[in-house]
């Protein structure tokens, strides 16, 4: 039988049930993840289950990245509880402070996720690891608590949608623009309870970082996961990131998909998702004249070194508008150091940006960049729901790093070439 990548990955982890589309299968998990918001609830459920130890102290990651550095006493207390739990259980991969980054940028960098893995995380953007050929999906805290105890969880094997990206990418167009275009075409429920398996010539040429940006936003189309074959590029990334023995994996030729979506990106300009849904996708030129008060460059979607380089290429020799707060948050300590070593911070500081620590803060209206009433932000993050970054009467526009940087300079949403 010719199998989708989804079926292959789940079949390789099945302990009971058949990993055929539509059936329910119990699977081993290679990693269970939670953060400072979701781990406290997972620990509560873990205790309620009567558990006294985790299934494997090496296969659990607890990353304190959302309201951190702790924004208030309540968030500090949540982190304290998780820290004590990690110590009690002997959890090896607990991250807080100087070794901590935005979880979905940090874990691939540390080699904790890789091709062939099944990963569950109490964070919806866990789907990022699909970029490396892992079946990775977001769940709630109680589901993750169950996985922490048993080392297993159940899945209904999802239908797969085959998304093929063809054509030639224009200037300043990257992974963010590709995934926004996909979400714009199929809608925020277009892949509900499905996996998107991405391929095509554009994907083959795309960097692993660009693929992570795309996989990251599979959930924004309702997807359970967004998968990419693990190819030579994946193996090179893994070899450079503490994962030396990774192996290639891909869907079988001729596998059956629920739906085929083909997108030709020739001539496509950078994309922008306007409030209040990620499916409200327009060309950047259609947003001209939209003034902004804040620009955020960072997050699990676009806070990697490639993104910071792109922003620096636009900001070099220019000044951020007096009316805009431009906030740059490298996603991990390693990215932070690399950006410093490459001189990107000099570019950002000369342009008038604020450079902050790795944190999810502003993406979810947590801290370090909250919007007031009537304010508008352009952001490289993943959601533009109403009130996402602060006041209910504020607005978030989603874009890639180049458009966010250019808009910070212009004080309104613009194409980088229009500066």
């Amino acid at each position: 039988m010719r199998r989708t990548l989804t079926e292959k990955l789940l079949a390789a982890h099945a302990v009971s049930g058949e990993a055929k589309t539509g059936s329910i299968v119990q699977c081993r998990v290679d990693l269970a993840l939670a953060n400072d918001i979701t781990a406290p609830l997972a620990i509560k459920s873990f205790r309620a289950m009567g558990a006294t130890k985790v299934f494997d102290k090496n296969k659990i990651a607890l990353v304190m990245d959302h309201f951190t550095p702790n924004r208030d006493i309540a968030s500090a207390e949540q982190v304290r509880g998780v820290r004590e739990f990690a110590k009690e259980m002997g959890i090896v991969h607990y991250y807080e402070g100087g070794d901590c980054g935005v979880e979905h940028a940090l874990l691939p960098e540390l080699g904790l996720v890789g091709p062939g893995d099944v990963v569950v995380g109490a964070d919806s953007h866990t789907c990022t690891y699909g970029a490396l050929g892992a079946f990775a999906t977001g769940m709630g805290s109680t589901d993750v608590a169950g996985a922490m105890v048993l080392g297993e969880t159940w899945f209904k094997v999802p239908d797969a949608i085959h998304v093929t990206i063809t054509g030639a990418m224009g200037p300043w167009v990257g992974g963010k623009d590709l995934i926004l275009q996909v979400i714009g075409e199929i809608g925020v429920a277009g892949a509900r309870y499905c996996v998107m398996e991405f391929d095509g010539p554009v994907i083959e040429d795309l960097s692993i970082e660009g693929r992570m940006t795309m996989a990251n936003m599979a959930i924004e189309a309702g997807g359970k996961a967004g998968l990419f074959a693990a190819d030579d590029k994946t193996l090179a990334y893994c070899a450079a990131h503490n994962r030396p023995n990774a192996e290639k994996i891909a869907a079988d030729q001729g596998a059956e998909y629920q739906r085929e979506v083909t997108i030709d990106v020739t001539g496509m300009s950078p994309r922008v998702a306007v409030p209040h849904l990620p499916e409200n996708v327009k060309g950047v030129e259609e947003c001209k004249g939209t003034t902004i008060q804040q620009a955020v460059i960072g997050s699990c979607t676009n806070g990697r070194i490639e993104d910071l380089r792109e922003a620096a290429a636009v900001l070099g020799g220019r000044k951020v508008s007096k009316n805009v707060r431009a906030i740059i948050l490298p996603a991990t300590p390693a990215i932070w150091k690399q950006a410093m070593d490459e001189g990107l911070f000099t570019v950002f500081m000369d342009a008038g940006c604020v450079v902050g620590p790795p944190t999810c803060g502003p993406c979810l209206g947590g801290h370090m960049g909250i919007l007031g009433k009537g304010e508008r932000a352009i952001s490289t993050t993943n959601r533009n729901f109403k009130g996402r970054m602060g006041h209910l009467e504020s607005e978030v526009y989603l874009a890639g790093p180049a458009v966010a940087a250019a808009s910070a300079v212009a004080g309104e949403i613009v194409h980088p070439d229009a500066l």
Binding site: I24, I37, T38, P40, L41, K44, S45, A48, M49, G50, A51, H66, F67, D72, A74, S75, E77, Q78, G121, A122, D123, S124, T126, G138, M139, G140, S141, T142, D143, A145, G146, V149, L150, W154, V188, A189, R192, Y193, I219, G222, K224, L277, L364, G365, G366, R383, F385, K386, G387, R388, L392
Partner: protein, 169 residues
């Protein structure tokens, strides 16, 4: 199986996201009563003041899209809501609600016909929703067997503790 439910319908639109259900800023608690105070605060901070114990949310497509935060079904439960009827649910939310014991029903024709403020009664055993205000009834399919098994163990917490006990035994 869940006991019969009777309450007032609170209607809403499509794609009600988890930031609408419980904005991230309130996620410094795991307590249902505390989270319940801010249920739907991302849509309308006053919404919760019009809800009584036993009430029912009636929504469009893709209810619960967005974050994996389990705080979303917990906030709904904390506000006193006993069931959500929608055209469709986002899948992480669906699973979370199930694990938390919040009844979700995908019944599109009911959503089309129920109006804000109608009195509804749900009989989970019979698989019926009755709009007492209009007199109309709607059928829904029974819960799938695998989920029934988890339900029979009292939710996921009960299911896992049961497995732990059998391993120890």
């Amino acid at each position: 199986m869940t006991a019969p439910i009777r309450g007032t319908a609170h209607t809403m639109g499509h794609h009600i996201d988890t930031d609408a259900i419980i904005p991230a800023t309130y996620l410094v608690s795991t307590d249902p009563i505390e989270l319940g105070k801010y249920c739907m605060a991302g849509m309308d901070p006053d919404w919760v003041n019009h809800v009584e114990e036993g009430d029912i949310i009636v929504a469009g497509e893709n209810f619960g899209c967005g974050s994996s935060r389990e705080h979303a079904p917990i906030a709904i439960i904390g506000a006193g809501v006993k069931a959500v009827i929608a055209k469709s649910f986002a899948r992480i939310f669906y699973r979370n609600a199930f694990n938390m014991g919040l009844l979700l029903l995908e019944v599109g024709d009911a959503v089309d016909k129920i109006s804000q403020g109608d009195t509804l009664s749900i009989d989970p055993a019979a698989g019926t929703i009755t709009d007492e205000t209009t007199g109309e009834s709607f059928k829904f399919a029974p819960v799938p067997p695998f989920m029934q098994e988890i339900l029979n163990k009292g939710g996921l917490v009960g299911y896992v503790s049961d497995r732990l006990e059998s391993q120890a035994g």
